[in-house]
Amino acid sequence: MRTEEIDVAVIGGGPAGLAAAISAKDSGANSVVVLDRNNWLGGILPQCIHDGFGVEETGESMTGPEYAERYISMAEKKGITFMRETMVLSFDKNRVITAVNHDEVYRIKAKAVVLAMGCREKTRWSAGIPGDRPSGVFTAGVAQAFINLYNIMPGRNVVVLGSGDVGLIMARRLKLEGANVLGVVEILPYASGLLRNIVQCLEDYDIPLYLNHTVINIEGRGRLKSVTIAQVDHDMNIIPESEKKIPCDTLLLSLGLIPENELTKNAGIEIDDRTGGPIVDQCFETTAPGVFACGNCLQVYDTVDVLAMGAKNTGKHAGKYVFAQGSKEKKREFLPVKPGDGIRYILPQRITKAGLIDFTFRVDKPYQTAVFSLSAIPTQDDTRQEIYKKTLRWATPATMERVTIDISDETLKSMGYLEGSING
């Protein structure tokens, strides 16, 4: 067993981890180590061979591997250490990480930790799809890995469930590889992926989109033989007599992503049930001092650009924390931020210092026009003081909103909470 002492440990070498590591190094941290469970860096990016990455950030549209390469070279130049094929088994609130690879079991004592573990895909059972349990049912990301990293074709006649970006991209990918893509099935009345993907993946490739439909049964004892789809009403109830059997040999599930926080939970760090990620303050610090979070394990982002911007901030704070230690161990007072009407979640969930704060949030349903307001609500009474207002157009749960709000010292000391809500 080997013990190491370092400044900043970053768990996860995907786009969030890489951006945070670089930023931490730039903020003055000396030893920055990135631990990743794969033998490649970039996380999910190497298998995302389509382009569209980095447009907002750099003006250039790159493929996943290109975007990853950019950050990897930057990180290498800065002297960041990588531990590949290394699995973090656990870490505790004292920032001691237990990790393992081909060489050793490591106990890494870090002055600051950045959580960048990313997310996992929702499985068939999150949607509770009954029926047989044949082979041929894949989550979209796994199918993508097999095609793009291993040159393995998962199947020939494909149905995709879920019109999120991963599902749309994979529908096109499979068609390009010669598969017969029978359609994309979506339970909502609208597709949940980015508009550009709906056009460039479905419309451009003549792949049918079945809105207001879902898969209600899976058939096949060995390999998948067919799926049964049915129409649903406004309340997501199955409309009887609308069932239709689609013969196929592959079902791709694109049901959504879940932030990967096993390590976080086991460390006793508080999780926000609405985001699935840790509760953080405006510095991205979790409820454990010196432990920061960024990327998809904090909240599921829509684009890597916005994710990287957030991760850079996280890295900066983690880097600064290394030097400000000692003074940080006191009990921190905070102002809670809560989601109100119309808001699914809002981040950060705590404010510990006044100033300009970047908030991210998602609405709970589509709005053509919606007025977002952040109000301060004191503990003594129910009076609300609106401190920020913004009109949103075409807000949907699939689009993360970002606003920068100036929180004053006065508001911070008001001893109540802040609430983000939609009015009208």
């Binding site: 067993m1 393992v100 068939r124 009954p130 029926g131 047989d132 097999f146 004892r221 060995g222 096993e262």
Partner: protein
């Protein structure tokens, strides 16, 4: 490797048809003696049928009618389990069971159950008031509960695999993917016609589970019917495991002779809800249904109101081999007997619950029956393949030592269950020759966690290709036709 055996040896003393828990337990028991034994299993691994799709409960014996074979073999098997687990190393936990009564009427049924249990020789039974039950199980509300301390849990697939692999290393031949399609009695031996060639054996043990009647009908006219009865289960996330420490069963539903919907913790910290009980026509119909999944959660919520809605991480179904139809009450005793018509044929019919618990005792009984035909001399060097510690169960020092021995221990390829590459390799190197994805899953747990194979599948496939030289087109999930992939991308098909 299997092919070489087939060429070398085709004559056996005992042929066991069926590699489920019963067939495997019998094979293991017989492996202690100097007899040539073969096991024919039509699936790609042992425990392909009912043996893997049940609750994994080691029953106490309180439910079976006194004097029945079910009662006798359940209590006997129960008593044998701990020493078996000590010897072979499979997981076993005596978590106990509460049978709970909602009202005074049901409480009377608890008293009947207790009486029944005492008659069967079940120790430690105690009826407790609802308040006392609550002390041990704070999330359970009931009027009264029958505490059954000798009820336990194990992993039915692990148990079966352990028995089978131990039999295999003691020279029992396992022929997987081998289906018996014809039988003939000729002089003093049986001619066994399979899809992989012909064999001969002095004695035949019919442990074919749901196919037991087909086997009998190859030799004689069966005097029984099989009524498949499907049981659906849902598996709950480990994060609800704090809701109960012991098994919680409602008072048995008398009409069908089947236990009602149960709450069963598993060895690895999940909770099982189920089984349902539905008589079906097709003995291979293991579909789960939306209605049953919903019903299981609903009924469980009546017992554990704190159960969250979104706790399901998996669902499966198993089929019971019943000898009594629904309208006849659905209850029939085990039939463990030599055929009266065909000498040398030993039949195990209708082995449903408590079959798993009864397995070691049934195996002893079958061995006794066999000893009437063949002299059984004990082997001197009986080997034991004890289940080793999983990587995730080791201390950091132990892990470090294993990595020094072989660096493949250090590469963790299943994130959710922390399974290392070496464990995958060991699983694929099993003495039975089972090499499906499920064979890996059931031996080392890779793929059984929250992400359900999202991360590890690509690594298992890589290991199968690199270390075991499997062609991607040959990789299957569980059965011969459950191929995982179509082939390589951009391949030209001949």
């Amino acid at each position: 490797m299997t092919l070489i055996f087939l060429q070398q040896m085709k004559n056996f003393h005992v042929a066991v048809i069926g590699g489920g828990v019963i067939g495997s337990a019998i094979a293991w028991e017989l492996a202690k003696y100097k007899v040539d034994v073969v096991v024919f299993e039509k699936g790609c691994d042992v425990a392909s049928g009912t043996s893997k799709a049940n609750s994994g409960v080691v029953h106490s014996g309180i439910n079976s009618p006194p004097g029945s074979l079910k009662a006798r073999f359940c209590v006997e098997g129960n008593k044998m389990m701990q020493s078996l687990a000590d010897e072979l190393g499979f997981s076993l936990k005596w978590i106990g069971k509460y049978v709970i009564a909602k009202n005074e009427e049901e409480r009377k049924e608890l008293e009947d159950l207790k009486k029944n249990g005492v008659q069967n020789g079940v120790p430690g039974l105690e009826i407790q008031e609802g308040s006392e039950v609550k002390k041990r199980e704070p999330y359970v509300s009931c009027h009264a509960g029958l505490w059954v301390p000798t009820a336990g849990i194990l992993l039915p697939y692990e148990f079966t695999i352990t028995l089978a692999e131990n039999a295999a290393i003691n020279n029992v031949k396992f022929c997987l993917e081998t289906e018996v399609i014809g039988l003939k009695k000729q002089n003093n031996s049986f001619l066994i016609h399979t899809n992989r060639g012909d064999f001969q054996s002095e004695l035949l043990v019919n442990a074919a589970g749901l196919n037991c009647r087909e086997i009998v009908s190859m030799l004689e006219k069966p005097d029984f019917q099989v009524y498949p009865c499907r049981g659906e289960y849902v598996v709950l996330d480990k994060n609800v495991s704090n809701l109960t420490t012991s098994m919680i069963y409602p008072v048995p539903v008398k009409k069908l002779g089947v236990l009602g919907v149960h709450i069963t913790p598993t060895i690895d910290g999940n909770i099982l809800l189920g089984p349902s009980a539905e008589f079906i026509d097709d003995s291979e119909d293991r579909r789960t249904t939306r209605e049953m999944m919903r019903l299981l959660i609903e009924e469980a919520k009546e017992i554990l109101p704190m159960l969250p809605e979104r706790a399901i991480i998996n669902a499966y179904a198993g089929i019971r081999c019943k000898l009594a139809s629904r309208k006849n009450g659905g209850w029939a005793d085990f039939r463990i007997e030599e055929s009266k018509e065909t000498t040398g044929l030993i039949n195990l019919l209708g082995i449903e619950s408590p079959g798993l618990t009864a397995a070691p005792a049934i195996a002893r009984e079958v061995t006794r029956l066999i000893s009437q035909y063949i002299t059984l001399n004990q082997k001197k060097n009986f080997k034991v393949r004890k289940r080793g510690k999983r990587f995730s169960e080791m201390s950091s020092i132990e892990q470090s030592n294993m990595i020094k021995r072989d660096k493949r221990w250090g590469r963790v390829v299943c994130r959710c269950e922390q399974v290392s590459e070496m464990e995958i390799i060991n699983a694929l190197s099993n003495p039975l020759g089972a090499q499906t994805l499920s064979a890996v899953k059931y031996r080392c747990r890779a793929g059984m966690g929250r992400c359900q194979g999202g991360f590890c599948t690509q690594h298992i496939v890589r290991i199968m290709e690199e270390e075991f030289h499997k062609n991607v087109r040959e990789i299957t999930l569980h059965s011969a036709d459950s191929y995982l992939f179509y082939g390589r991308t951009r391949e030209i098909k001949q």
